[in-house]
Symmetry: C2
Subunit: 416 residues, 2 copies
């Protein structure tokens, strides 16, 4: 298998451009995606006859490493998020979260029906634009707020808790949507009910199961002689949940997320938790995630930039204004002053890796296959990825406008 | 891709049987290989129509994960071995190492010419048996000696230093052999000279290069903002060396080994070294290595047990006696008493994962393709894997005969 040459090229270029991004105070994933775009453009010309490089965009090993990249990125997001944080979330966070889903979802649906052609896939495509816009990347929000010294301020606490809710809501909506896509278009009511039952069943089994599984596994592991047994236990649960998610018609990342979410510090012990999280972090940030993001770059064209620039601007505006209005108004209603409410709305705006993951899942599932005659559908994936990149880059820039005078070290926001 | 179901099944069965092996004071890899054999036998009957399980032995994702398994196992062996240990090795270690290569190599060559049919591949096959028998697994030796409390005794120091030499000699011989196999049979003198030049060139570039690369990379990394940058630097070097090894006609693990060997604590700093080694350890021992060993089990048949039992016994005897005589006599000559010399010979006897890695590389390279009419060639891979397993299991049992009265906790010897 032509494995090491494409990995070498992708890893070195992705991390180099990622580092350059950081130097320009931009998120790392920007450079990593750019590396994929660059390699996709240059490799076929520079090395037309080198196996593994000429066809690097279709390399099976690279796609598999990228697949592991999504899996471990989302597993890490779940691990770093503690269910306790969500339980402690205040009422205002809940309002902000709901506002942050409802308004962008409605805006996305509206844009979908306004721009996309009237095919059987139009409802699913419009719904998907809404889902993509309703996402908030917890890690981006956390990193930016930390850079501004706002993490333990009411602004920071509200944004983080609301972002967690929105990510979960977004992933659940994605789960529904993946099942919808599998049937080709919006299915009859009976199928939708059956889908809801399957989604419910998945959460009942996984949430209930992990409450029981992890404490049991950790008791058993205390007596185990094998090395890295805790990590294996986490993986076995995550693989099982991933298989269950696919059985229930959802994407495997939902299983990885739930498996990570309930892998709690207090259940597994602080030392074990730290070892596993750090070990996974080294592998994920040092190898898998850069390959995943470069793989995104290899897949996308930037065609939306010159083919549907107007649509792209409208989409980005809807993404930013949707969160600003949806979250900002909710924050204002729950008693924050105007400036803090605006800061909350801006803080929720970064989509980061999560929207890109979600969009690439929709692409693979064939959501954008119908209506390719329309330039809006043909360049929708490109436009959504660019929206994720722009909203992520814009978050700290906009926040600086309403929260002046804070120190802003480079945002190392490569995590989703 | 049917990825998570086969991974789930393999991981849970492999680690379960690995743990049971440890409980019976056997090395973990024994249970993991057994898991592969078991899954290979059972899965097609239990799940004949489940994609990913029915054809689990030919699953591309599993083969790819196993490939990463070899790569990271050998990279870890290199990392855990410090070049300084080799420089500090005493003259007696050098004698023991040479004896430990020459005698088993000669025994293997003799067995090859005695048993195998006279095909153009016979010289390469005979040479390969010699190479396989001349291997000593450093990690097995280290673990067993540690269990006996002998690691800092002259026996332990001699064995470890000699085992390091033998592993390197074995890997170099494998490198030569892989190139020989690629040409089909023993090539003309000019080609052999050219091969030697390429092998020399590989070591000149990699050894010279890493002396320069790591200190330079670590100086640069000190100013880097990206996370896990040290791990990426190691991987970039290891991927580059792997590609170079393949260019020079050798197997990629040689590149991984050299990249790991010169990744030294004093060059990269103790904290960075520990983080990377531990992170890789979690991933390698918790996921990649069990899948690799189970993959071996999926590939092998145990047919040598009933088809060529006499040959198998002779091979195992040659493996154990070859090290006992080769290393024991060298140790005795260099001044050790009889009992300590015997302990050295026995301590060098465990082949562990390294022989299995080496044998599976030879299998993939097509070394056993010619002369399949002969039962000895048809079952040679099976016999060599069983030899590795038996010598590994026998090492602590035999050592107990000459070093009585020491405590012997379970040997957790799953590393190569």
């Amino acid at each position: 298998m032509d494995l090491f040459l494409p990995l070498f090229v992708i890893l070195i270029v992705a991390r180099l451009l990622g580092e350059i991004s950081l130097r320009f105070r931009q998120p790392q994933l920007l450079g990593e995606i750019g590396a994929g775009v660059l390699i996709g453009l240059v490799a076929p010309f520079v090395a037309p006859s080198v196996p593994g490089l000429a066809d690097i965009g279709r390399s099976v090993p690279i796609q598999l490493v990228a697949e592991f990249g999504i899996f471990f990125l989302i597993l890490l997001v779940g691990i770093e998020m503690q269910p306790g944080e969500m339980r402690r979330a205040s009422r205002s966070s809940l309002f902000v979260a709901i506002g942050g889903v409802v308004v962008p979802l409605a805006a996305g649906l509206f844009l979908g029906y306004a721009f996309l052609p009237d095919t059987p896939a139009q409802p699913a495509q419009a719904l998907f634009i809404g889902v993509a816009l309703s996402i908030t990347a917890v890690a981006v929000a956390g990193r930016v707020l930390n850079d501004f010294g706002l993490l333990h301020h009411p602004i920071g606490r509200t944004v983080i808790a609301a972002a967690v809710f929105d990510d979960i809501l977004g992933l659940v909506l994605l789960a529904v949507l993946t099942a919808v896509i599998a049937t080709g278009a919006i299915p009859p009511i009976a199928d939708l009910v059956w889908l809801q039952i399957k989604v419910g069943l998945f959460f009942a089994i996984t949430v209930g199961g992990s409450r029981f599984l992890y404490p049991w596994a950790m008791r058993v592991l205390g007596a185990v002689h094998s090395r890295a047994a805790g990590f294996t236990a986490l993986l076995v649960v995550a693989f099982a949940f991933a298989v269950l998610a696919e059985l229930m018609g959802m994407h495997f990342i939902m299983g990885a997320f739930v498996a990570g979410l309930f892998f709690e510090k207090r259940l597994v012990g602080a030392a074990e938790y730290k070892d596993i999280r750090d070990g996974m972090g080294v592998f994920t940030h040092g190898l898998l995630a850069p390959v995943f993001f470069a793989g995104i770059g290899l897949q996308i064209d930037l065609s939306a930039l010159w083919n549907v620039p107007g649509f792209l601007v409208v989409l980005i505006a809807a993404a930013i204004i949707g969160k600003l209005v949806g979250c900002g108004v909710a924050a204002r209603w729950s008693g924050m002053d105007l400036r803090d409410s605006a800061a909350v709305g801006i803080g929720m705006s970064g989509r980061g890796a999560v929207e890109i993951v979600v969009s690439s899942i929709a692409l693979q599932a064939g959501l954008f296959a119908q209506g390719q005659d329309s330039p809006y559908v043909a360049h929708l994936f490109s436009a959504l990825v660019l929206t994720a990149v722009v909203t992520t880059v814009a978050t700290p820039l906009m926040l600086r406008l309403v929260v002046p005078g804070q120190r802003t070290p480079p945002p190392d926001a490569d995590a989703p």
